[in-house]
Each structure stands twice: as structure tokens, then as C-alpha cells.
């Protein structure tokens, strides 16, 4: 009985479509985490940046009646939150974990505060179709059984995310800029000596992580949900963080981890009929992460200078 349902669920295109959708949603902030941590700045604030992006995305889409401006607003909002994290952790040399937590708390407070003020406590209405991010259907390709709906009928941001993974891998491992980013994250002293502007690189990387997380927020509110609810990210930024570590700080590894976590999220509501509590099934991604951390995939090593504020060689 259980295996029958499981088999039925696992072979349905619906499950895999949802898996890839949730995976892409996690992938964007996770890639943000990759680039930020590769440059040596611990970033656990993706959750807050996503939430801010989701809120500003909906609000600016409603205000301008334009979904693209909504997405733009979300990206900028995420970037601004990241800029705070950058200033606080790069210039002020604050504890980056504490700063990240503060950003998360601030984002939760700010979005709820502004939501109450701007909508007089009513909350935003569900967005009409024109204000949502469109689903892209690839003509005849979408008609292919199974693969069609899974790969060729996804939200536009899904395809953006795929481009970003490849782009991020290329950037990090095939370009000079990527080399500099990694150098700054591993040996800032040496990078500085070689003429790399450590602070600038870190600033750009942290802000990029915010831009990506903001985009993920827009994907969530304007694409998947079509509404903004208080605290709607519901810990996804943290799962993205886990995916990044699970993926060993590489774009492709992270993408794999995101698909796994996406599967966890897509699977749990669909296995209700088996009689296993949905709550228990929801723990799957977290348990998987723990197992991964304990060593099924070997030890993950963070960039050597991750989390250490850079002190120029003076004094």
C-alpha cells in the first residue's frame, strides 16, 4: 500500500514539476550564499533578504501595475538588505553571524510593520494574473509526456535560475574575477598583496547575494504564491544555507542539494495518503542535511577566511 502510493507519486510529473520549482526557489538564495561565503563573508541572512524581496516585490508590483518593476523592486530591496550586512560585517567588523541574525529579525519586523501600516492591517489582496510572474510554455516541447510539464512548463524564474547556476560556475571557476573572489575568501592577505581590493570584492559578492535572494523573494510572492503573507519564506533561507553547505560551496553541488530539498518539500504533502504524518515527512530535508553534515558526502570545508573580517597588514 505504502509503496504503491510512493511509486504513484514518484512517477507523477506533478511531483517533479513542484520539486524543480521549489528547488529553483532555494537555489537562488543558495547561490547568493555561495558567492558571499566564497568571498569570505558568512551570510545567514538570505532568509531576511528573501522576505524583504517578497514584500517589496508585491508592493511595488501593486503600486506600478507592472510585474517586472515588482521584480526589480524585490531585487533592489534584497540588495539593500545585503548592503547593510556588507557594511556591518566588512567595515564595522561585526560578528557576521550576529549581523545575519539581526538582518533576519529586522526583515521580519520591517515587513510586518510596513504591511500593517500600508494596508491598515488588512493584508495585501491576492494578485491578479497580470501581476504574477508568467509560466513559460515551450510550445511543442511542453507536449512531451512527463518531461514536457517537468522541464518545459515552468515559471520564468526557473529558467533564470538555471542560467544563473551555469553562469555562477563559469564566473567562479573560469574567470579572473572568480579567481579573485576565491582568493579573497581563502587568503585575503595574499589577494590584497596581489592588488585585489579585498573590501570591494567582498562588498560586490555580499550585495550580489542580496540581489539573488531578493529575486527569490519575488519568485515566491509574485510567482508561486501570488500574495504576500507575513513570514512567508518560512525558513527557506536557512534551508538554502544548508543546501549551500551540503553542496560544498559549489554552484552545481548546491543545485543538486536544492533539488533534493525541493523534493522533500514537494513530497511531504503528496504522501499524506500513506498515513505518515505530514509533520514527520516535513523533517526529511533537515534530517538529510544532518546526515550529510555528519559525513555521508565527506567533510565540507568552508573557505579558509570565511567569517573573518579582513584586517589590512598594518599595526
Amino acid at each position: 500500500m505504502f509503496f504503491q502510493i510512493l511509486f504513484h507519486v514518484l512517477t507523477s510529473s506533478d511531483l517533479w514539476q513542484a520539486t524543480l520549482q521549489f528547488g529553483a526557489l532555494l537555489l537562488l538564495p543558495a547561490l547568493g550564499g555561495v558567492i558571499s561565503e566564497r568571498s569570505g563573508v558568512v551570510n545567514i541572512a538570505m532568509e531576511g533578504m528573501m522576505l524583504t524581496g517578497a514584500y517589496v516585490g508585491v508592493m511595488s508590483a501593486l503600486a506600478t501595475h507592472n510585474v517586472l518593476l515588482g521584480v526589480l523592486g524585490a531585487i533592489i530591496a534584497g540588495g539593500l538588505m545585503a548592503l547593510i550586512h556588507a557594511i556591518v560585517s566588512i567595515n564595522f567588523k561585526a560578528d557576521q553571524t550576529v549581523s545575519g541574525i539581526a538582518i533576519n529579525i529586522a526583515a521580519l519586523g520591517l515587513t510586518n510593520y510596513l504591511l500593517t501600516i500600508q494596508t491598515q492591517g488588512q493584508g495585501v489582496p491576492s494578485l491578479s494574473g497580470g501581476l504574477r510572474l508568467p509560466l513559460i510554455t515551450w510550445g511543442p516541447l511542453a507536449q512531451i509526456p512527463f518531461l514536457g510539464p517537468v522541464l518545459f512548463q515552468q515559471n520564468i524564474i526557473f529558467y533564470v535560475a538555471i542560467l544563473l547556476v551555469v553562469g555562477m560556475h563559469f564566473l567562479l571557476f573560469r574567470t579572473n574575477i572568480g579567481l579573485r573572489i576565491r582568493a579573497v575568501g581563502e587568503q585575503p592577505q595574499a589577494a590584497d598583496t596581489a592588488g585585489v581590493n579585498v573590501r570591494l570584492v567582498r562588498y560586490l559578492c555580499v550585495v550580489s547575494s542580496g540581489l539573488l535572494s531578493g529575486l527569490a523573494g519575488a519568485f515566491l510572492s509574485l510567482g508561486i504564491a501570488g500574495i504576500f503573507n507575513p513570514n512567508m519564506t518560512a525558513g527557506r533561507g536557512f534551508i538554502a544555507l544548508a543546501a549551500m553547505i551540503f553542496g560544498k560551496y559549489t554552484p552545481f553541488g548546491t543545485a543538486g542539494a536544492c533539488i533534493l530539498f525541493g523534493l522533500g518539500e514537494a513530497l511531504s504533502p503528496r504522501l499524506q495518503d500513506t498515513g505518515i504524518s505530514a509533520n514527520i515527512l516535513s523533517t526529511l530535508p533537515y534530517v538529510l542535511t544532518l546526515i550529510a553534515l555528519v559525513g555521508l558526502v565527506g567533510r565540507t570545508t568552508a573557505p579558509a577566511a570565511d567569517g573573518i573580517p579582513y584586517e589590512p597588514a598594518s599595526d
Partner: protein
């Protein structure tokens, strides 16, 4: 000028007063600055987001803070509510502090609290026929042990595999929330109630302070007239006891000393022969025990004395505790004061929303501001010039003769640069270092 730092510190005899001021500044100044800054920026946010003339906005801000104060410390009843919130915050604050002493960031207090509450709840709901004198201690001790185990997992994974405690804590938090929900909505669910358990048996609930007083000292001293109004329960005394225990452990035991060494310099601790891994596990277990107590004591002390599904994931106590610990600088008196402050704020937020029409979520923004200003190093920033300027180049050779270094040295030692960069060529090929150290991105 030319003297090394060590001599500079001891040489000047007049520094006693300035040293005292410095100590005062570091132990008191920053928390006070943090709170003042949070109140100021919070006020600015209120002024920006309210309507009307500038005077209206100022009066809106003042009204908000007035209701915030009245709701937290304005009268005995609100103080009693504040103490309720503060009790849980003291325990969880200690959970974060204990770990922080060892250099660990325990954001798993929320999960440890959940596990503590679930364990105590299980025992209370299972052994309903036990007498109170047996049931209450069993529940309290079991919750501490469960929390210790849950925190210990984090410490163990950290010690054994080097797993980052922040990630394991987050994972364990969500696991605890979901398992709690599954239990409360499943095997423990009360018939005819949705997503909640039955209340604990009456002998397993803790009396309120006022009732307790009326029944003991109140028999020969004046009675508290309306004891049910004051909700704070006797677990506040246990929280104070926990503060004393924490102070004793950190200030008077070898374990506390070793934790401090580990927190400040792991390498030094290792060389000194301190069992770092074991101590990390112990520290996390102790932290978990504190957090577990927060969960069980609140369940036993505060009506409705039952477990409710989804309440743990929405409860911010475990996260507020981070602010409490950092604001209190991980000292026992500091944790007490900041728990009272945060407890008051959290508790009075709805009051402010109701009467001053300022959303209670302002409290979160202020908490974040407190965290920011606690963790930011102001002094080096003020001394430094130019935020975005290239980091000042000074010779890598220790500068003994005095600050005669030229302003900038723009030709870095190329050999060092190549060694540094070449060591990084672990990417899949193709990433050759720049031939000459250049500054293309500028």
C-alpha cells in the same frame, strides 16, 4: 611611540582611572548605547511612518514609547507579565550565553526549549496519578536532560565532525518543531480538541507567586488581595537560581575557566591541555539544559498548561535569547537585566499597537538594532578614514622603529602574491592568476 604595546599598557601609572572608565565603557557603555540607539532609530521609524505634521509625529512617537513603558513596567500587573516573559528569556538567554562563552553560537535554544516542553508534557500527561512532589521534579529534571541531550548533539557534531553549530542548530530546531507538532496533533491530541493536548494534571502545575505567597508568608503578613491578576509563577525563582548557578560555573569553576579559554583562543586552549572537544559537548549540553528548562517551566507555570501544535515554530523566545545574551554580555547580571528589558518590550508590544496604533512588530526592528549596535566595533571605524578606500598598505615587516611607513606602497611583492594565488588553483583548470597584479575592477 616606539615602545611595544605590552610596555605601553603597564608604563603609564595614571591609567587607573582611564582603565576603570574603559572597563565601564566596555561592560556597560555598549549595551546602553545599543538600547538608546534602538529607541532612537525606532522613534525615527515611527515618525517616518505616521501621518500628520511634525508635532503629530513626535507625539505619536512619545505615545508609542509611553504605552511601551506602561505595558511593561507601568503597574504591578504589567510587571508581573513582564516577569513571565523574562523567566523564559533568562533560561534561554543563559543557553545562548553558555555556548557563547565557548565560542559557539547557539541559535538552537528554540529547538531545545521545544524538546524540554515536549518531554515535560509527555511525563505530565502520562503519569497523571503521580503526586505533585514526585511529578514536578521528574518533569523538570527530565526536561533539562532532554534539552541537554538535544544541545549535546550539536556539541557532539561540532566536536566530532566539525559541523557548523549554526547549521546543525537550525536543522534541529525545525526537526523539533515538526516532531512536536506531529506528537501534539497525533498521539497526544486531546479528544474533541484540535491540535492541542489536555492540560497538565493540576498537581503538575506550578503555583503563581502571589498564590504561593498568600499560602505561605501571607498567612501572617498582609495578603495579596487579587492573586489571580498577577500571573508570574514561582519558576521566576528557579530562573534566579539558574543565574546564580551560571555565575558560579563561569566564574568559580575550572570548567567555566576552560570554556572562556576555548572561546577566546581554541589553539591556546589545546596547547594548555584543555580537553576542547569534551568541553564543547559539555557546554552545549549545559546550554541545552537551560533551554529545556525554559520550555518545561513555562508549560507548568503558565495557563493553559497544555501543548499546542504550531506554537513552537511561532514562538520567538529562543531567538530573542540571542539578543538577551549579547546585550547582557553573557554575564549573569547582564542576562537578568536584558531579559527584563526584552521581556518588557515583547510583552508591551501589543499594548503599544492597541493604544498608540503602532504595529507591535516595531519590537523586532528594535531588537535587530540592538544586535547590530552590540556587535559593531565602533572605535576602529572612527579611527579609520575612508570606508571604501583601498586598505592602507604598510610594510609586512613589523614596524618597530615607529610609524614612518609611507602612505601607500603600490608595488606589492610579486613573489608573495604568486605564492598566495597559486595555492588556490584548485578549480577545474583554466583559472590562471593574473600575470601582473592589476586592479582592473577599479
Amino acid at each position: 611611540m616606539a615602545v611595544p604595546t605590552v610596555q605601553r599598557r603597564t608604563a603609564t601609572p595614571a591609567s587607573k582611572l582611564s582603565l576603570l572608565l574603559q572597563q565601564l565603557n566596555s561592560s556597560l557603555g555598549r549595551p546602553v548605547i545599543a538600547v538608546v540607539l534602538a529607541l532612537l532609530v525606532g522613534g525615527i521609524i515611527i515618525m517616518v511612518t505616521t501621518a500628520g505634521s511634525i508635532l503629530d509625529r513626535i507625539s505619536a512617537t512619545l505615545a508609542a514609547y509611553q504605552y511601551l513603558f506602561l505595558g511593561s513596567f507601568g503597574n504591578m500587573q504589567s510587571i508581573s507579565y513582564t516577569l513571565v516573559v523574562a523567566t523564559a528569556l533568562i533560561f534561554t538567554g543563559l543557553a545562548v550565553s553558555t555556548a557563547y562563552r565557548a565560542g559557539l553560537f547557539n541559535i538552537g535554544a528554540a529547538g531545545q526549549l521545544t524538546v524540554g516542553a515536549i518531554t515535560a508534557g509527555t511525563i505530565g500527561l502520562r503519569f497523571t496519578e503521580w503526586p505533585g512532589w514526585l511529578l514536578i521534579p521528574t518533569m523538570i529534571i527530565a526536561s533539562a536532560l532532554a534539552g541537554a541531550l538535544y544541545g549535546g548533539i550539536v556539541g557532539f557534531l561540532k566536536a566530532w565532525r566539525g559541523a557548523h553549530e549554526v547549521v546543525t542548530c537550525i536543522m534541529l530546531n525545525w526537526i523539533a518543531f515538526y516532531v512536536a507538532d506531529a506528537l501534539v496533533d497525533g498521539p497526544f491530541k486531546a479528544p474533541n480538541l484540535s491540535q492541542q493536548t489536555l492540560p497538565l494534571p493540576p498537581q503538575a502545575t506550578l503555583p503563581s507567586v502571589s498564590n504561593f505567597y498568600n499560602q505561605t508568608l501571607g498567612t501572617f503578613l498582609p495578603q495579596i488581595p487579587t492573586p489571580t491578576v498577577y500571573t508570574v509563577d514561582v519558576s521566576i525563582f528557579l530562573a534566579l537560581l539558574a543565574l546564580v548557578i551560571y555565575w558560579f560555573i563561569t566564574a568559580r569553576t575550572t570548567f567555566g575557566y576552560e570554556l572562556r579559554v576555548i572561546g577566546q583562543n581554541v589553539r591556546a586552549a589545546r596547547y594548555a591541555g584543555i580537553p576542547v572537544k569534551l568541553n564543547i559537548i559539555y557546554a552545549m549540553a549545559l546550554a541545552g539544559a537551560f533551554a529545556g528548562l525554559a520550555g518545561s517551566l513555562r508549560l507548568m507555570g503558565q495557563a493553559p498548561n497544555q501543548l499546542i501544535a504550531t506554537s513552537f515554530a511561532l514562538d520567538s523566545t529562543g531567538f530573542d535569547a540571542i539578543g538577551v545574551a549579547l546585550l547582557g554580555r553573557t554575564t549573569a547580571p547582564g542576562v537578568l537585566i536584558s531579559a527584563l528589558l526584552f521581556g518588557g518590550l515583547t510583552q508591551a508590544g501589543p499594548n503599544m499597537q492597541l493604544f498608540a496604533h503602532i504595529p507591535a512588530d516595531l519590537i523586532y526592528i528594535m531588537q535587530a538594532l540592538v544586535l547590530f549596535s552590540i556587535t559593531i566595533e565602533f572605535m576602529p571605524l572612527i579611527q579609520r578614514s575612508g570606508w571604501f578606500s583601498r586598505s592602507r598598505k604598510e610594510p609586512l615587516v613589523p614596524n618597530i622603529i615607529g610609524k614612518t611607513a609611507p602612505e601607500t606602497i603600490d608595488d606589492p611583492a610579486i613573489s608573495i602574491a604568486e605564492i598566495g594565488i597559486n595555492g588556490l588553483n584548485d578549480g577545474p583548470g583554466g583559472d590562471k592568476p593574473a600575470a601582473t597584479p592589476s586592479r582592473q575592477e577599479e
